[in-house]
């Protein structure tokens, strides 16, 4: 290279030089903040855990009731994973529904019920109905936050969460989490449980609902492969504050 290279020649040369050197690529994006790093680590931990669990998943008997439509789409869509928050008593996925566990074991059978603000009462009802075991006696129940950031209710005393490596849930949801629950309810009722609508119409509905919720900082977008879908639903991911419009089924 010499001083008499034209600007275009130099530009081309720089492009090639950068393309050949992965050690220069990091400059393409701003350095992550500590909070972004936290979220990234949590997502990777959960993903690694789900990969490890995948082989066992088919063997586990899982019963599921209710209509946690958003949660189902998140799982099916796969593009917006859940994130772990094993350091807090607040769920980061309060809208994901509640898992009522049948035993003091994170891998025990579970009945998934729609999210609500009183998980113990909701799961006690399942126990009383006899759907969680051979008896209709309701054992002491404790609310834990799973590694995936969702709410799980276990039979056992207040120490059960710690014994199985989880964290006791806070007694009450924060206002933000309550607001997300309300947002989720509206999305389920007004979009996912409603008749099919085109992706662009679902996007407009989701934007309106988010605007009306008063929540800030949420991103609503149509997933790349779903732009022309005649029937679309939404998936909510609280950690990234993202609502994704996804073709359905």
């Amino acid at each position: 290279m010499s001083d008499d290279q034209t600007p275009n020649e130099l530009a081309d040369l720089v492009d090639v030089w950068i393309r050949d050197r992965p050690d220069a690529w990091a400059a393409a994006f701003p350095e992550p903040t500590e909070a972004e790093l936290d979220a990234d680590v949590d997502r990777v931990v959960v993903r690694a855990r789900s990969l490890a669990d995948a082989l066992n998943a088919r063997r586990r008997r899982r019963r599921s009731i209710g209509a946690v439509v958003v949660g189902t789409i998140v799982i099916v869509g796969g593009s917006v994973g859940v994130a772990a928050l094993i350091r807090s008593g607040q769920p980061i996925q309060p809208a994901q529904g509640i898992a009522c566990r049948a035993a003091e074991d994170p891998r025990s059978d579970a009945i998934v019920i729609p999210a609500n603000a009183d998980p113990i009462a909701a799961c006690a009802e399942q126990w009383a109905n006899g759907t969680l075991g051979p008896t209709s006696d309701v054992p002491p129940l404790t609310v834990c936050i799973a590694v995936t950031g969702v709410v799980e209710v276990y039979p056992g005393d207040s120490e059960v969460c710690g014994r199985i490596g989880l964290v006791n849930a806070d007694a009450e949801l924060t206002p933000d989490n309550l607001a997300v629950l309300a947002l989720n309810d509206r999305l389920v009722n007004e979009v996912n449980a409603a008749a099919c609508a085109a992706a662009v119409d679902v996007l407009a509905s989701a934007k309106r609902i988010v605007d009306e919720s008063g929540l800030d900082g949420w991103t609503i977008a149509i997933r790349g492969d779903s732009r022309d879908a005649d029937c679309a639903k939404v998936a909510l991911d609280q950690p990234t504050k993202t609502i994704t419009v996804i073709k359905f089924p």
């Binding site: 290279m1 001083d3 600007p7 130099l10 530009a11 040369l13 720089v14 492009d15 090639v16 030089w17 950068i18 393309r19 050949d20 050197r21 992965p22 050690d23 220069a24 690529w25 990091a26 400059a27 393409a28 994006f29 701003p30 350095e31 992550p32 790093l37 990234d40 680590v41 997502r43 990777v44 931990v45 993903r47 690694a48 990969l51 490890a52 796969g78 593009s79 917006v80 994973g81 490596g165 997933r223 790349g224 492969d225 994704t244």
Partner: protein, 190 residues
């Protein structure tokens, strides 16, 4: 148990801090859909976390090489056919890529480096002298981002992205041809 978990998370966090952006750039070169890039990025580091005990003690350059090759492998299959991604992921879990590139790959890399060593040092020094935003736009362009993608990534208009690229190229040329003049000009800016 908590200490072990914290230690693993710390090591994973450091790996992501050092190489997260490089892996994202690698994936973004081949995959345009941001949601897919994000999914693939998580997959690459999930694979890395499974080999964290072996990966963490290695030099940064070896870590980067492994992560980039793993990302490329995963992306190539993802681009070919979406449903092979899971198969590729499983294959890479069962049979991970070696940490050290093959002899052929290594020879090619060393040849390329030797041929352009002098030029490379000068270019790297010139790039390092630029403002982060100027460096960013040059790297984004080099890894294949077009105007609209650059604008979206940097949250600016397309016209502003074009202008920023033009200015960055000018600044790079100045920094390359006459680093002293460039440095003085940069200092003189308010």
């Amino acid at each position: 148990m908590t200490d072990l978990r914290d230690d693993r998370e710390d090591r994973l966090r450091n790996l992501i801090r050092v190489h997260g952006r490089t892996v994202r750039a690698c994936l973004a070169r081949l995959e345009r859909d941001p949601a897919s890039v994000d999914d693939l990025w998580v997959d690459v580091f999930a694979l890395a976390s499974e080999r964290l005990d072996e990966l963490a003690p290695l030099p940064d350059s070896t870590q980067r090489s492994w992560l980039v090759r793993t990302a490329s492998n995963l992306t190539a299959n993802h681009a070919r056919k979406n449903n092979t991604r899971r198969k590729t992921l499983e294959t890479l879990r069962r049979d991970p890529l070696p940490f050290v590139p093959s002899a052929e790959e290594d020879a090619e890399l060393r040849l390329a480096d030797a041929e352009s060593e002098l030029r490379s040092d000068a270019l790297r020094a010139a790039l390092d002298m630029l403002e982060p935003a100027a460096r960013q736009v040059l790297v984004l362009h080099a890894i294949g981002y077009d105007g609209p993608r650059i604008a979206a990534e940097m949250s600016i208009s397309q016209a502003a992205a074009r202008k920023r690229l033009m200015r960055a190229r000018f600044a790079l040329r100045q920094a390359y041809v006459d680093p002293v003049v460039h440095e003085n000009a940069t200092r003189a800016q308010p």
